[in-house]
């Protein structure tokens, strides 16, 4: 079954006993900044539900990107463990792909769109023939709307298109968890809206958990099934909100929903107050 046909077949209904796919157990993370030891997380614990679209927001310096890096295995906590499917993470595990904020630095500039995506495929799947690999890649190229650009080099693409390549390269691995660090912060507003819709469409159509770090509260509310807001310093989770706005969401209609504006302004003022105190 092709990806597009399976669209919306995967139910995102609320189940009472959803498995925790990622469990953060008592992690502490400290950094040395200018010879001073600062603590970003202090015995922090949290469980992430399988299949959720969880956004992590908070004021600058709250450690949201650090948290994502620790979950990905790219960085290690000073103390404590992150469990993925019940196993402690010691390095980047299979089944989890990290999408970097700096897409233009994460894409391989010497490879075409097709080759970039094939890199993802071959890192996670055995492919029998060149032909099979190409067909599989083309499926994902179509999914992110890049048909006709498969033989282009990244330098010939716009920022939004490069980000599509990076997303397709991650998705072709069929990860259980996609970790995204402010993936749309560097593209223009219209491209961002389009990429947000694309990402939601994908999340709704396949079994995947998405962890999404953003500084944009509006974006978080629009996309997420759940949002956690981290406090300044080592405060940990300040707010933990289920976003019950119905899916599929629409860039225009969803934003008119009174629930949307209520959550959005509540979260915004909470983070804004903290930023001002700094």
């Amino acid at each position: 079954m092709s990806l597009q046909n399976s669209l919306a077949l995967y139910p995102k209904t609320e189940k009472a006993d959803v498995k925790k796919i990622i469990e953060i157990n008592n992690i502490t993370k400290q950094f040395n900044v200018n010879k001073k030891r600062i603590t970003v997380f202090n015995e922090f614990s949290y469980g992430i539900k399988e299949g959720s679209f969880l956004s992590i927001v908070g004021p600058s310096g709250c450690g949201k990107s650090t948290l994502l890096k620790m979950i990905s295995g790219l960085e290690q906590p000073t103390d404590g463990k992150v469990m993925f499917n019940g196993k402690a993470i010691s390095g980047p595990p299979k089944g989890m792909i990290y999408v970097f904020q700096q897409y233009s630095k994460s894409i391989f500039p010497w490879s075409t769109v097709l080759e970039n995506i094939e890199f993802g495929l071959r890192s996670h799947k055995k492919v029998k023939s060149k032909q099979e690999a190409k067909e599989k890649c083309m499926e994902y190229i179509r999914l992110v709307g890049l048909e006709g650009y498969e033989h282009h080099y990244p330098s010939q693409l716009s920022g939004g298109m490069q980000q599509r390549v990076v997303i397709a390269r991650a998705l072709i691995c069929e990860p259980e968890v996609l970790l995204m660090d402010e993936p749309f912060s560097a593209v223009d507003a219209m491209t961002r809206a389009i990429l947000q819709e694309l990402l939601l469409k994908i999340w709704e159509s396949i079994p995947i958990t998405i962890l999404f770090v953003t500084h944009d509260v509006d974006e978080a509310v629009f996309l997420s099934s759940q949002i956690i807001s981290l406090g300044k310093g080592d405060e940990g989770v300040k707010e933990d909100l289920e976003i019950t706005l119905p899916y599929p969401r629409d860039q225009v209609e969803t934003r008119k929903n009174s629930k949307f504006t209520t959550i959005q302004s509540k979260l915004f003022s909470s983070i804004f107050e903290q930023e001002k105190q700094a």
Binding site: P92, S106, S123, P154
Partner: protein
């Protein structure tokens, strides 16, 4: 690579000026013969095969020394770039030896290797070694950490990420090192041939000067200019092909 017609035009104007200066006695026409005489001598050297006979041993030394240097310096540079302890161990000594002109090694090399081809190839090897080494480890160390982390998040093993990520990412810098060093190799070859030997373009230039065949001497020097230009041009073509992903921006 845009054709720089104005640049070539300037060369032609300067050559005409040279011709006139020599013809009208503005400069000593024995030390600086007319361009037309140089071209005539040059033509003769090409027809008799003399020029080719002198150029061939020089080119052989340059390429052997250059290729040997690349074969050692690129792998070593990659190791230095990838492993910080190796870098910290070897970087100071590299920086210390690097500024010494390779021609300064010729006397030492003569002591150990004599005045034959071994000495010349060795000195050329040394002169190419450091620019290639330096550019390779700077290139590898300069690979963006995001690119390396991208490899990690996709679970690419270290060895595989060497040729899938680190090598292509540092290729532009490595190529620059290769291009710089082949220019240096030609210079050093000429110096080494002038100091000792009985063939090669460097030897030939000095020999012609000694027997007052000044036009032939200049023909030899012009040959070096054209040789350097051609090699650089071929390198740029190769770079343009290998780095085609970089040049064809919209």
């Amino acid at each position: 690579m845009k054709k720089s017609w104005s640049g070539f035009l300037l060369i032609i104007i300067l050559l005409i000026l040279w011709e006139l200066s020599s013809r009208n006695g503005w400069v000593d026409s024995v030390s600086v013969p007319q361009v037309s005489q140089i071209l005539k001598a040059w033509g003769g050297l090409i027809i008799t095969g003399e020029l080719f006979n002198q150029l061939l041993p020089s080119l052989a030394r340059v390429f052997i020394g250059f290729l040997l240097a690349a074969a050692v310096a690129i792998p070593l540079g990659i190791i230095m770039g990838m492993f910080s302890p190796v870098y910290r161990l070897l970087e100071p000594i590299t920086e210390f030896i690097r500024p010494i002109p390779a021609s300064a090694y010729i006397p030492i090399a003569i002591l150990f290797l004599g005045i034959g081809d071994e000495m010349k190839v060795f000195v050329i090897f040394l002169s190419c070694f450091f620019p290639i080494l330096l550019n390779t480890y700077s290139g590898v160390r300069g690979v963006d950490p995001v690119l390396i982390d991208t490899g990690r998040t996709f679970g690419v093993p270290k060895v595989q990420s060497l040729y899938q990520i680190i090598l292509p990412a540092s290729l532009p810098t490595v190529l620059t090192g290769l291009r710089i060093s082949i220019g240096i190799a030609i210079m050093v070859a000429v110096v080494a041939e002038m100091i000792s030997g009985n063939n090669g373009i460097g030897y030939y230039i000095l020999d012609m000067q000694r027997i007052f065949r000044v036009a032939e001497m200049f023909a030899g020097i012009f040959t070096l200019g054209i040789l350097g230009y051609t090699i650089n041009y071929l390198f740029l073509v190769l770079e343009k092909y290998l780095l085609r992903w970089r040049t064809n921006e919209v």
